[in-house]
């Protein structure tokens, strides 16, 4: 098959990728866009987002408040120019989603409804019951179907970026149903491949969140930014890691330890109000504090023996019983559905067992506010990118918003770029295609030599990161993680592959994903080792204080032949000088 060529190639059919595709198609139908995705777009993990998407819409709110919450939530590591873009473009994007049919929950008079969320001083989170990501993704996907200029490659797995002349020329990819390796040419490439939660053992993330796009960029010489910042969500179901959305606390749910005590009051998150107090749940306080602080509180409770032991490790209780059946079934029906099905608990009558769980990557491919990377013609948006609006800790419901705002910006930048870009080099694409094909066929024919299986190595990598780079880390734990990953990379060279079929060879793709996860894990461990301070989700027990003198900056991990090189770039401060993060008192 010959090499197909498009103007813009978008890797990823999640929220960010589809938003970008629609933006280009709307702006200029002459520009040909291709969306390539390893799963059907509607399977992308945006589908699992529950709670909502933040944007200022009500009269009692302001853009500055949204910006301040985001920046203080980020422990002042977010770039403030990027945050200002996020909050000011958010309302328009959300209304655009409404115009495309997104079934937002409504006020009695028909306006969209908003709910409170962690770390936000005003209720500004738009929601579609508790299936917000599902409705957003399907709305975007269905809307994308109306544009003839969007071509899709569904169930194609991208294996590499083709770079020549200092810019991307396209990608190499496996068509899963045939097993054939193709090259696809494009003048501009946008990476929208989502997060990498699967590098950890216990995560809310789906099987496909393996950091592929991050690794593609990293290998092409683009730095990964702020990778040490990994968000643990405080409320996952034990055993599976299935998320119980923060909306459960936004609606008034409380967290209690084994003594039935609202333990968050001991961790500088303010005073609890009575449950029948009309001000409960109080914003930026207690259960509506930021995720990093809530997850750290859980670990402290564990250390003091105040969590509850269960068959899948210890947990605390998320109590919703005071909300009543009506609120629960109308506002958070999926919470009930998930709790009943997967832990056999009906939240109407019993508290839900929950524990901390890896949820989101604040770090990612280094981009600027126009979604550009250091490689001209390569753009990135969504969870795989780091602009950065999330800094050291993302506030819940800012991510879905970020997908839209920066997905569209990436589209605009890419559309502009293709106008001036020269044609792609077909010769290079063919050479790279041949090289990729050769590598895979060699691998399939000789790959059965070693003792290690893909699943075996993956599980060691998971444990290595959890033990070395979990919620609390220190120099020796991180050094062990770095060494462990170096060792795993060597073992991976001889990983055993047993499946030699061409069609839907998911062992092969799992191996390629593992290769990507090893790169991502390496960047996480090394960036964390180098940052000798504590900030947001990065808590070093050997360096417990925030150090603005040395670390009011982003880490940039560059791949080298040996260990990654870590550089730094200053945080952009516009109007909010670094201050103390206070919750429950302001």
């Amino acid at each position: 098959m010959d090499v197909p060529v498009h103007d813009v190639l978008i890797v990823g059919g999640g929220g960010a990728g589809l938003r970008a595709a629609i933006a280009i198609a709307e702006e200029n139908p002459e520009i040909t866009v291709a969306v390539i995705s390893k799963v059907y777009p509607m399977r992308s993990h945006t589908v699992a987002a529950e709670g909502g998407a933040a944007a200022v819409i009500k009269g009692n709110d302001s853009l500055d408040d949204h910006a301040y919450d985001t920046i203080s939530g980020s422990d002042w590591l977010a770039d403030q120019d990027a945050v200002e873009v996020l909050v000011s473009e958010a309302p328009g994007e959300m209304i655009q989603m409404e115009h495309w049919g997104c079934p937002w929950s409504r006020e009695p008079e028909g306006e969209v409804a908003v709910r409170p969320f962690g770390g936000m001083q005003t209720e500004r989170t738009w929601y579609a019951a508790d299936k917000t990501g599902f409705h957003m993704l399907h709305t975007l996907f269905q809307t994308s179907l109306k544009f003839d200029s969007i071509v899709r490659y569904d169930e194609w797995f991208v294996t590499g970026l083709v770079v020549e002349d200092g810019r991307p020329q396209g990608v190499t990819a496996i068509e899963l149903k045939s097993g054939e390796v193709h090259a696809i040419g494009a003048k501009a490439v946008i990476l929208c491949t989502g997060g990498a939660g699967r590098v950890y053992p216990f995560t809310t993330n789906s099987a496909i969140k393996t950091g592929d796009g991050m690794a593609l960029a990293y290998r092409a010489g683009v730095p990964l930014k702020d990778m040490e910042f990994v968000q643990y969500h405080p409320t996952g179901l034990p055993g599976t890691g299935i998320l119980i959305t923060e909306a459960a606390r936004g609606e008034g749910g409380i967290l209690v330890n084994r003594d039935g005590y609202r333990y968050l009051q001991d961790y500088d998150l303010g005073e609890p109000l009575d449950l029948d107090d009309p001000l409960h749940p109080q914003k930026r306080t207690m259960e509506l504090g930021p995720r990093d602080r809530l997850s750290q509180a859980f670990i402290h409770e564990r250390a003091q023996g105040r969590t509850i032991d269960g068959p899948h490790g210890d947990y605390v209780n998320l109590d919703l019983t005071h909300l009543g059946e009506r609120t629960i079934t109308r506002k958070i029906p999926m919470v009930r559905e998930l709790a009943v099905r997967y832990v056999g608990v009906d939240p109407v009558t019993e508290p839900i067992p929950v524990r901390t769980v890896v949820h989101y990557m604040m770090g990612g491919i280094d981009t600027d506010v126009e979604a550009r990377t250091l490689l001209p013609g390569l753009f990135a948006a969504g969870e795989c990118a780091c602009v950065s609006v999330n800094g050291a800790n993302r506030l819940g419901s800012n991510s879905l918003t970020e997908l839209l705002v920066y997905g569209r910006r990436a589209a605009r930048s890419a559309a502009q770029f293709v106008g001036e870009a020269p044609d792609v080099s077909l010769a290079t694409l063919r050479t790279e295609q041949e090289a990729a094909r050769q590598r895979i066929s060699d691998w399939l024919s000789t790959g059965s030599s070693g003792d290690d299986t893909v699943a075996g190595l993956r599980s060691i990598l998971n444990d290595t990161l959890e033990e070395g780079a979990g919620i609390f880390r220190d120099e020796s734990s991180l050094q062990r993680a770095c060494d462990g990953i170096r060792d795993l990379k060597q073992r991976f060279e001889k990983v055993r592959l047993t499946d030699t079929s061409a069609t839907f060879n998911y062992e092969l793709t799992a191996a390629l994903e593992l290769e990507n996860m090893l790169d991502v894990g390496e960047a996480i461990a090394h960036s964390a080792l180098a940052r000798t301070e504590s900030r947001g989700s990065h808590q070093r027990t050997d360096h417990p204080e925030r150090d603005d003198e040395r670390f009011l900056n982003h880490s940039l991990a560059y791949q080298t032949d040996r260990e990654p090189r870590i550089d730094y770039r200053d945080v952009v401060i516009t109007r909010w000088p670094p201050g103390k993060r206070t919750y429950g008192t302001d």
């Binding site: 409504r106 028909g110 068959p311 047993t498 499946d499 839907f504």
Partner: protein, 255 residues
């Protein structure tokens, strides 16, 4: 993960799994796997145990493991189910037979080819065509909770394809648009913001559309998200038929 056997040392879970390798075989076969029992395992966990510990060549789709991405539909003892939502304990200790979703061509093992649906989907105009368009700057379209509730169920479809493998009409004649696609058309028809019902009529009321449905109703029974595609199709029949009668009685009046 420590196994939490209810009866330690008792019988394993027996899985009889449909295998088909298109590059090597012309006919499918069943392969038996025996794995340790865990009372909190869903069928998908059991398959992943096989894939990770026993036989890495078994292929099947999955992603979210929480019943929302729609990837993991399979026939479990002859019924279309989301394998991440059905527990092994429901069948244990009887053997569990796992096959690819019925009525679809099998690409490999438990992986079906659903391109047919993906091609049909765009033809029902599954997007909002605002009845009274306005720019984003003028804010949202108002929609009351009651107007939202009218179509909400039909917007809950995760495209899992269980309904297609329950529908004998689709099984006998795959030109039928099928439950999920038609339910989605009805979802937009019933949206108070939409104005493209007449436009959708071309496809929805064609021979392959709603009138091919004989109302077996099994799609609704198997739907894991309570979308009720059978109901959607009957409502579409009633609504388009009413429109047609009106247009006969009141020629010239649109809609």
């Amino acid at each position: 993960m420590a196994p939490t056997d209810t009866d330690p040392g008792t019988r394993p879970v027996v899985l009889d799994v449909f295998r088909f390798l298109p590059d090597a075989e012309t006919e499918p076969r069943f392969q038996r796997y025996e794995i340790p029992y865990q009372d909190d395992h869903v069928v998908l966990d059991a398959l992943n145990h096989v894939k990770n510990e026993v036989d890495a060549t078994l292929s099947f789709r999955w992603a979210c493991r929480m019943g929302v991405c729609g990837s993991c539909g399979m026939m479990v003892n002859g019924e279309p189910r989301l394998t991440c939502e059905v527990f092994v304990s429901e069948y244990y200790p009887e053997p569990i037979r796992i096959e690819p979703l019925a009525h679809f061509p099998v690409a490999r093992d438990l992986v079906i080819n659903m391109e047919d649906f993906m091609e049909k989907l765009p033809t029902v105009t599954p997007w909002l065509v605002p009845a009274d368009p306005k720019p984003v700057e003028e804010g949202e379209f108002l929609q009351s909770p009651a107007q939202l509730a009218a179509y909400k169920r039909f917007s809950m479809c995760i495209n899992c394809m269980l309904c297609y493998s329950a529908c004998p009409v689709y099984g006998l004649d795959d030109t039928f648009m099928g439950p999920a696609a038609l339910a989605l058309a009805q979802r937009y028809n019933m949206d108070s913001r939409d104005g493209a019902k007449a436009e959708r009529a071309n496809v929805v009321t064609s021979h392959e559309g709603i009138w091919e449905c004989t109302y077996v109703g099994d799609c609704t029974r198997v739907c894991p998200k309570e979308v009720d595609p059978a109901g959607a199709i009957q409502m579409a029949k009633l609504s388009y038929a009413t429109d047609w009668v009106k247009s006969m009685l009141l020629p010239g009046a649109n809609r």
